[in-house]
Amino acid sequence: MQKLPLVRLEEIANDIREDIIEMLVTAGSGHSAGPLGLADIFTALYFDVLNHDPKNPDWPERDLLLLSNGHCVPVRYATMAHAGYFPISELKTLRKLGSRLQGHPERLRLPGLETTSGPLGCGLSQACGMALALRMDKATHRWLYVVMGDGEIDEGNVWEAAMLAGKYKLSNITAILDRNNIQIDGPTEIVMPLEDLRAKWEAFGWHVIEIDGNNIEAVIDACAMAKAVTEKPVIIIAHNVPGKGVDFMEYDFTWHGHAPNPDEAKKALKELRTLGGKIRSEHE
């Protein structure tokens, strides 16, 4: 796939944010803050980092992207549509009866999802299984990306997998932690303190990279750096702004788990369209 200039990637990320708002207001339910915060990471992955073919989702040589925190799937659907996996018009079917775009992602309904997720904490261990299989098949050039939420890593299953990835030195796994500091019940450090995250992952045998997850260039650079670490699995702790791009949603944990109403959506879209104009003018 032809690499796009940064300004184009930023525009795409902004378009994806607009689509997320439109999908959520049409659906009438779903998660807002996480998907908005992850738009830059998903743009970087699908438009620069991943070795994939949107017209052939089962291409045997593809990299594998697992969305472990399945509730953030609107950002994945929107990015996949923009990347050419399916028509953008299909995004409006999110959460509707008969749609391929289930409220939480189901592999068997939509090609290209790699797995089914929603219940938290299971993506990393599935990636471990895939990585072990790739090692047995001498195919470690294929890369595994696992996007996880920060609240998600309260789950014990995550640490079981983290230990195993350290034991087997599964260096073709790059985990990306959506460190947006919120979960359903409030700020992560109040609900269940996670820090010192770097020390925890390092103690489990991982190489840790910390970035601004809303900086597309930083995401691309970090993924390249992760490929150069051959002795250990890598986790990119991506410091993200929840609700990124929509002023009244940013940093507000109450937007974790619900969708905007039509008035709120209108306001959000106005803001994002202004932002889109700004991106273009800044680069002109």
Binding site: E106, R107, L108, E114, T115, T116, S117, G118, P119, G121, C122, S125, Q126, A127, C128, G129, M130, A131, L132, A133, L134, M136, D137, G156, N157, E160, A161, M163, L164
Partner: protein, 326 residues
Amino acid sequence: MSGDLKLADYLNHPATEPNRKGFGLGLLAAGEIDSRVLAVCADLTESTQMHFFKDKFPDRFIDVGAAEQNLVTLGSGLAAMGKIPFVSSYSAFSPGRNWEQVRTTICLNDRPVKIVGSHSGVSVGPDGATHQMLEDIALMRVLPNMIVIAPADSIEAKKATLAMARSPKPNYLRLAREAIPIITTEDTPFEIGPAYILKEGSDVSLAGTGTMTYHALLAAEQLAKQGINAEVLHIPTIKPLDDGTILTSVRKTGAVVTVEEGQIIGGLGGAIAELLSEELPTPIKRIGMNDHFGESGEMTELMTHFGLDAKHIVLAAHNVLALKKP
């Protein structure tokens, strides 16, 4: 399925062996046939009898440590890449602890992971109630896409393991710890799906699964001495249930006793009661654990204590015969 099933001489001092050993040997054999077969264990390699496989194929063996959630989710990932992973622990822990992961990452995902739960039933013995898994049949048979198998003995467990390696679906294999009588032979047929009529009869159907089928056969012998001609069904595949064979038998006999080493609520007894109440209402008595836990003790004393023996099956048969329509 009925006819000459070439059974062992189970009445006269049958050989005994734990059915988990048959699994261990079956896994080794499956691994020799197909290089995609892998073994994943959670710190119980010898107990689950995976050591036969591990010794022969160390590069295809993975130990996740005492981490049963990781056990099955890792299995899902392996299966996603075309492997045939057998993932094994004690059934109290897998699927006891990791049921949601089984539901989401294996069943909803329709990944052909082979979940093997050893140490089911009260026959686990002295370890006590924590380790005597009684709810696994109920837990697993409610899951869409899942196939549930409880072999009667070691020989059948080996055949079941080989059949599982060929099955494109998620499977659960229920095993027990202690040595139990071998009632089948190498020549006894086994496939995933059919119920087998081990002894034909006309008065009452005794439907057993797993370790309890042997006891149903003993009960049929005792009933014969009392002039009652019992038909014995062995139901190794609890899901999908072989409705046709069961209904044909019950239509003939008009009375049924189900026999299992687990909770009758949701177990084989539950499954057959559901079938019959819709299709063919029939007097039924369910032998098994009735909404309580086990406790420490030796296998034989526990089986007697909890009514899991031929004597109690015979009593239950008399109960249903009394209810039978003339």
